[in-house]
């Protein structure tokens, strides 16, 4: 045993066995091309899954699964990890039988097959989608252990489709009377949401493509509405119908949910915009720093009102701030990735990020949000997130202001 111990030590001094002993893959023949005609992540990445938050919802077909932001890079969300929000379950619809109808206050109504839609002039644009209820459980107090659950209802993809304005123009909308459109899905919930005509004629996309391929079934295959900057529930999946009208619809998901309860007991209705927000994803809640010393602190920032202009980071609970590097491209209503240097001295620290968008809006602190909106509004919680790094290296979700 002593001899073996000495041998191990000698070898350790000589170097790392992972280098000295050539691994199997350096001495063998690997696997063939196209063994997986559609590829998957490494077996070593299985920990990064979309996951439900237990207790958040009561039935899994009217529920949420969250994107594991704690392990992601850059701005593109892998489509396999895109968060899910269904109200009546997801379907894998036969695209040859899917139709889109556009009607209402138009000169001529229109029915399109997928074949027809996909012939139309298309655009491809990178946008974030965030559920209006992202970070909702923490309007009051800290409730969730990791960034997957605090912020994992945001994703960012490259969407391809025809501008909604192109379709509305084709139908000859009545520019005088047309004030709103209703978007409706083809699933059981037939999700319906009102969109202002200015939004509809601006940058909304009737999209079939997501990150280079067709939308995934969980995200509305074969057709979904993309409403840049607006909460995800308006990005109607399995889109089957657009009605042009002159009044808001007050549908269930704009009259009973996605309404923001204010301290005076009124609800703000039609609060779609996802205001400027950011979060540090590494290091973040539930993670352990391995050691003192240098870290690349990395995170995401976005704004439903435009581009990210700047992100500042504090490591002392908001007393002092430094401006982070933004990775390019920094796009309109898209996630932006920021990075900043940090040397951890091993002492307790509180990390925060604060985004500023192209309108000059500064992401608020949770107490500033509460001062205006109270703690019960559920939606649109875009406060600065705080992560406490303990001496042990463990990172905890906290509220600091």
């Amino acid at each position: 045993a002593i001899a073996a111990g000495q041998a191990t030590r000698a070898r350790a001094a000589e170097g790392d066995p992972a280098i000295l002993e050539l691994p199997e893959h350096t001495r063998g023949l690997g696997r063939p091309v196209a063994e997986r005609p559609y590829g998957l992540p490494s077996q070593w990445e299985a920990n990064l899954q979309r996951r439900e938050s237990p207790g958040l919802t009561r039935v899994p077909q009217a529920s949420v699964s969250f994107t594991p932001l704690q392990g992601l890079f850059g701005i593109i969300t892998p489509s396999g990890l895109h968060f899910e929000r269904h109200h009546q379950g997801w379907w894998d619809i036969d695209p040859s039988k899917h139709r889109l109808m556009v009607h209402g206050l138009v000169k001529r109504s229109r029915v399109f097959t997928m074949d027809e839609l996909m012939r139309l002039p298309s655009v491809s644009r990178i946008h974030f989608i965030e559920c209006g209820a992202n970070s909702a459980p923490e309007w009051g107090n800290v409730a969730l252990p990791t960034v997957q659950y605090t912020h994992g209802m945001v994703s960012c993809s490259e969407f391809t489709g025809v501008l909604l304005s192109t379709l509305l123009d084709m139908c000859g909308i009545d520019r005088k009377t047309a004030k709103f459109v209703l978007a409706e899905g083809a699933d059981g919930s037939s999700m319906t949401r009102t969109i202002a005509i200015e939004r509809a004629l601006d940058d909304c996309i009737v999209a079939w493509g997501m990150n280079g391929e067709m939308l995934r079934p969980e995200n509305g295959y074969p057709l979904r509405l993309v409403v840049p900057g607006v909460q995800g529930v308006s990005w109607v999946k399995y889109l089957r119908r657009i009605e042009v009208g002159d009044q808001k619809w007050a549908t269930k998901d704009e009259a009973v949910h996605y309404i923001d309860l204010m301290p005076d007991g009124t609800h703000r209705q039609y609060t779609g915009i996802q205001e400027c927000k950011s979060v540090i994803t590494t290091p973040s809640g539930g993670q352990m720093l391995l050691d003192k010393g240098f870290y690349n602190v990395s995170g995401l920032a976005w704004s439903g009102r435009g581009r990210i202009q700047r992100v500042d980071v504090s490591v002392d609970g908001g007393r002092n701030w430094r401006t982070a590097r933004l990775e390019g491209p920094v796009l309109d209503k898209a996630l932006a990735r920021f990075n900043i240097d940090w040397v951890w001295d091993g002492k307790p620290a509180i990390l925060q990020s604060r985004a500023i968008d192209s309108t000059g809006y500064v992401q608020p602190k949770i107490n500033q949000l509460r001062a205006v909106r109270g703690t019960r509004s559920i939606y649109h919680q875009n406060a600065i997130q705080s992560w406490r790094v303990a001496e042990s290296g463990e990172v905890f979700n906290v509220q600091v202001y």
């Binding site: 594991p68 800290v142 009044q247 400027c276 949000l369």
Partner: protein, 229 residues
Amino acid sequence: QSKPWDHIGREATPAEIKAWDIDVRPDFKGLPKGSGSVALGEKVWEAQCASCHGSFGESNEVFTPIVGGTTKADIETGRVKNLVLGSNFPQRTTLMKVATVSTLWDYINRAMPWNAPKTLKTDEVYGVLAYILNMGDIVPADFTLSDQNIAEVQKRMPNRNGMAFHEPLWKADGKGDVKNVACMKDCPTEAQVRSSLPDFARDAHGNILEQNRVVGPVRGADTTKPPVK
């Protein structure tokens, strides 16, 4: 100006529009003619709704209760008092929140029963909605809800005056109602922890160790154990 792609697609037929154009607006545009009594509604409810929502619309099983939390006084004012800050009522039921009765008609017709949406007959939708409204004391037990009297019922919705429209959060170019400033040095903050994760929540989402990558600058904490002091 005409576009070279204008020929793509075709006009919808009246029957097609009828098949899909099911939405009902607050002004009752889209509401089909028909009627249903509370009694009919009770039958539908017990047969097709109560299993999920409870016999009195009070079940928490699949969703927040539909009925409860509203008072006769609310029906007078059109504002639900239990929504005001300080109220002790534990839930926000559907009837406490909804301002527009059309919303309920539209949604039940569109999406309920949850596992068999769009199977109710028009009169059944009227009936079951009448039953729900009756459970909320908005209409009497002998009421028959119809396209003719629904506008009257709207005037009794407990939270009909409860909605505020805050335009800046509806328009992309609106200005936020909450303001922070981009202070960089010696900023005002207590810099102390005001709230942190309750102990029971540490592993309520499973072991975080298993939700992080096996390499990288960090690992997931083993939340089956208490934090290292």
